[in-house]
C-alpha cells in the first residue's frame, strides 16, 4: 500500500503532461484538473490516516533500500501539509475557473497549476536532499510561468526579479548540498542525521547549516523577504492565492525538516531562527501597516505569519511543534481565502488602493462578511482556525521561558488585525461609491470557492479535536527525530 505515497506528486505531474496535449479543449482541461486535485487530496487523506494507524510510510523507488536509493517518506507532518495543500489548491482551482480569462487558460494555465502542486507535494514528501532541490525547481519553474502568464508590465518586471532571486537561491542550495556531500558523504536526510549525530556538529557542519538556513529563509520569506510583496501582488488573484498559500510553506517545511532532523545539536541556530523570526514579524507588521494598496498589505501578512510559524521552530518543544502544525494548515486555508478576497475586491472595483474604495459591504455583503471572518481567523479569535495554533505556540514559549518571542508573536497578531481592519473599515464600511447601475455582477462561481474556503477556515477551528491526533503525531515526529530515522533506516541504525 505504500505506493499510494507517490500519488500526490505523480497524479498532478502525469495529468499536467497529458493536459498539454489538450490545449484547445478548455472545459476538458478544467474537469480533468479538478478531478486530479480531488484524487490527490483523497489519496493524501487516506495516507494520513494510514500513517496515524501504522506509523511512518516509506516508498523506496525501484526497491533500492536506503541509504542507497532515493525515496519518499511520509510522516504525519509532511502528510498533513500535503493534504492541506491539495485541498486548498483544489478550491483555488475552482476560483481560477471563474476568474482566469480564456486566453490565459489556453496558454497552459492548468498544466502549470498542476506542476506547481506536484512540486510542492514532492518537496513535502521527499526523504532525500537532492530530490528536495529537484522538487523545489519543479515548483519554482511552474511558479515563474504562472507569475508572468498574461504578460502585463508589472508581471514581467516582478517576474524578472523573482526568477533571478530564486535562481541565485537555488545555486546556494546546490552549494549547500555539495558541501554537505563532501562533509558527510550521503544525501538521504535520515542518513545525514545519523552521521551528524555520530560525528558531532562541528563548526563546518554548522556553517553548512547556516547556508541551508539562508537558502530556505529566502524561499520562505524569513527576513529575506524583499522579493515577496512585489511578486505576490503582481499575478491574477487565483495565482497569487496559490503562491500565498503554498510557496512560502515549502520553505518553512524545509526549515523545520532540516533543523528538527539533521542540525539539532547546536542551540545557537535555534536562537538565530528566533532572532530572524522576531525581525521578520516586526518588519512584516510595519510593511502591512505602511501601505494602502490592498494587495501589498495582504502580501505583508504572509511575511508576518512566516515569522510566527518559525517562532515555533525557535522554541522547539513538542507543544510549539503542535502549534506550528496547526498554524501552518490554518495559514494555508486562510491566506488563500485572504488573497482571493483581495483579488475579488480588486476585480470588482478595479482599484487597488483602499482609500479609493468605500462601502463595498452594501453591494457585496458576502465578500464583506467573509473578509471580516478571515480577518478574525488570521488574528486568532476563537473558535476560528488561527486560535489553537497561537495558543500552543504561546504555551511552548511559556514552557521554555522565551518571553520576548511570546510578546512579539502575540503583538504581531495585533499588527495583523490592525492592518486588515484598516482595509475593512475603509473599503467595506462607509458610504458606497458604486451606484446600482455601475455595480459589477458578482458571479456565483466566484462566491462558491470563497465560501468553501471559509467553511474550511471555520471547520479547522471547530474541528480541531478531530485533527488533534494527527497533529500530535506530527509534533511527536518533529520533537523526536529518532522515529523518522528508524522509519527510514530500519531498526538497525548504525
Amino acid at each position: 500500500m505504500n505506493n499510494l505515497l507517490v500519488l500526490p506528486m505523480l497524479l498532478p505531474i502525469l495529468m499536467g503532461v497529458i493536459l498539454v496535449f489538450f490545449r484547445p479543449y478548455i472545459r476538458l482541461q478544467r474537469v480533468l484538473s479538478a478531478l486530479t486535485m480531488l484524487a490527490s487530496a483523497g489519496a493524501s487523506a487516506y495516507c494520513l490516516q494510514h500513517i496515524h494507524l501504522h506509523g511512518i510510510m516509506r516508498l523506496d523507488f525501484g526497491d533500492w533500500l536506503p541509504p542507497h536509493g532515493i525515496l519518499f517518506v511520509g510522516d504525519s507532518f509532511a502528510m498533513l501539509l500535503v493534504t492541506a495543500a491539495c485541498a486548498v489548491s483544489a478550491i483555488i482551482l475552482l476560483y481560477a475557473f471563474a476568474s482566469t480569462g480564456i486566453e490565459t487558460e489556453a496558454m497552459f494555465f492548468y498544466p502549470f497549476f498542476l506542476f506547481l502542486v506536484a512540486g510542492v507535494n514532492g518537496s513535502f514528501l521527499t526523504g532525500d536532499l537532492f530530490n528536495l532541490f529537484v522538487c523545489f525547481e519543479v515548483m519554482l519553474l511552474a511558479s515563474y510561468v504562472l507569475l508572468v502568464l498574461g504578460g502585463r508590465k508589472t508581471q514581467l518586471k516582478e517576474g524578472i526579479t523573482y526568477v533571478l532571486i530564486n535562481v541565485l537561491a537555488s545555486w546556494f542550495f546546490l552549494l549547500g548540498i555539495a558541501y554537505l556531500y563532501g562533509a558527510i558523504g550521503t544525501l538521504n536526510m535520515a542518513h545525514i542525521a545519523v552521521r551528524v549525530a555520530e560525528t558531532g556538529q562541528g563548526p563546518l557542519l554548522t556553517l553548512i547549516a547556516v547556508i541551508f538556513l539562508i537558502v530556505f529563509s529566502l524561499k520562505a520569506g524569513l527576513l529575506l523577504y524583499f522579493w515577496l510583496p512585489g511578486s505576490y501582488s503582481a499575478p491574477p488573484a487565483a495565482v497569487a492565492a496559490l503562491f500565498g498559500a503554498l510557496l512560502t510553506k515549502v520553505g518553512i517545511y524545509a526549515l523545520y525538516r532540516m533543523f528538527t532532523l539533521i542540525f539539532t545539536h547546536d542551540p545557537l541556530l535555534y536562537k538565530a531562527v528566533g532572532v530572524l523570526a522576531v525581525i521578520t514579524m516586526t518588519a512584516g507588521c510595519l510593511g502591512a501597516i505602511a501601505y494602502s494598496d490592498i494587495r501589498q498589505i495582504v502580501s505583508y501578512n504572509v511575511i508576518i505569519s512566516v515569522g510566527f510559524v518559525l517562532t515555533g521552530l525557535a522554541i522547539a518543544t513538542n507543544t510549539a511543534f503542535q502549534g506550528a502544525s496547526y498554524y501552518l494548515i490554518h495559514d494555508m486555508a486562510s491566506k488563500a481565502l485572504l488573497f482571493l478576497l483581495a483579488g475579488t475586491v480588486v476585480y470588482l472595483t478595479g482599484r487597488t488602493n483602499f482609500h479609493e474604495i468605500s462601502g463595498l459591504i452594501r453591494n457585496y455583503p458576502l465578500v464583506g462578511w467573509l473578509f471580516f471572518l478571515t480577518m478574525l481567523a488570521i488574528a486568532g479569535i476563537p473558535p476560528l482556525s488561527g486560535f489553537i495554533g497561537k495558543v500552543y505556540i504561546g504555551l511552548g514559549a511559556i514552557e521554555t521561558g522565551s518571553y520576548i518571542l511570546l510578546a512579539v508573536a502575540f503583538l504581531s497578531s495585533i499588527g495583523v488585525l490592525y492592518s486588515l481592519l484598516r482595509i475593512f473599515l475603509n473599503s467595506f464600511w462607509g458610504e458606497t461609491i458604486i451606484s446600482e447601475d455601475d455595480q459589477q455582477p458578482f458571479q456565483k462561481a466566484l462566491g462558491l470557492p470563497l465560501v468553501l474556503l471559509a467553511v474550511l477556515v471555520v471547520g479547522l477551528g471547530i474541528g480541531a479535536e478531530l485533527l488533534s491526533p494527527y497533529i500530535q503525531d506530527a509534533a511527536d515526529t518533529l520533537a523526536d527525530p529518532e522515529q523518522y530515522i528508524r522509519a527510514v533506516m530500519g531498526d538497525d541504525v548504525e
Partner: protein, 110 residues
C-alpha cells in the same frame, strides 16, 4: 587535482558575481549561467576526483568512482539550462514590452 578545480570554481564564481552585478540583462543571465556551472563543478569536486576506476561494480572493488555526484550534476545541469532558457525568453519579452535595452535598474535608481 581537487585544489586545481577548486581554484577554477573560485574564478568562475568571481566571474559570475561580476557579471551579476552589471546592469545589462543579458550579462546578468550569463552570470547566473556561469555561477551555476561553477557550482556544478564544485559538486563534482566534493565527491572526490580521480579515484581511478569505473563506478562500483562489485562489493569488494578496491578502486571505484563515486557515481552519485555525476548523477547529481547531470540533473542540476538540465535544470540550469531550463532556467536559463526561461530567463532568456522572459528578458526578451520584457525587452519587447518596454521597447528599450532593459537594464534591471531604471533611470530613477541612478
Amino acid at each position: 587535482m581537487e585544489t586545481l578545480i577548486t581554484l577554477l570554481v573560485g574564478v568562475l564564481v568571481a566571474v559570475g558575481v561580476y557579471l551579476l552585478l552589471s546592469k545589462e540583462m543579458l550579462r546578468i543571465i550569463l552570470g547566473t549561467a556561469i555561477l551555476s556551472h561553477a557550482i556544478h563543478l564544485l559538486l563534482l569536486t566534493m565527491g572526490g576526483l580521480k579515484k581511478g576506476d569505473v563506478p562500483l561494480l562489485t562489493e569488494t572493488a578496491a578502486e571505484y568512482t563515486d557515481a552519485l555526484p555525476q548523477a547529481l550534476i547531470l540533473t542540476a545541469i538540465v535544470i540550469s539550462f531550463a532556467v536559463t532558457a526561461f530567463l532568456l525568453v522572459l528578458s526578451y519579452r520584457v525587452y519587447q514590452e518596454s521597447g528599450r535595452g532593459l537594464g534591471l535598474r531604471g533611470q530613477q535608481d541612478e
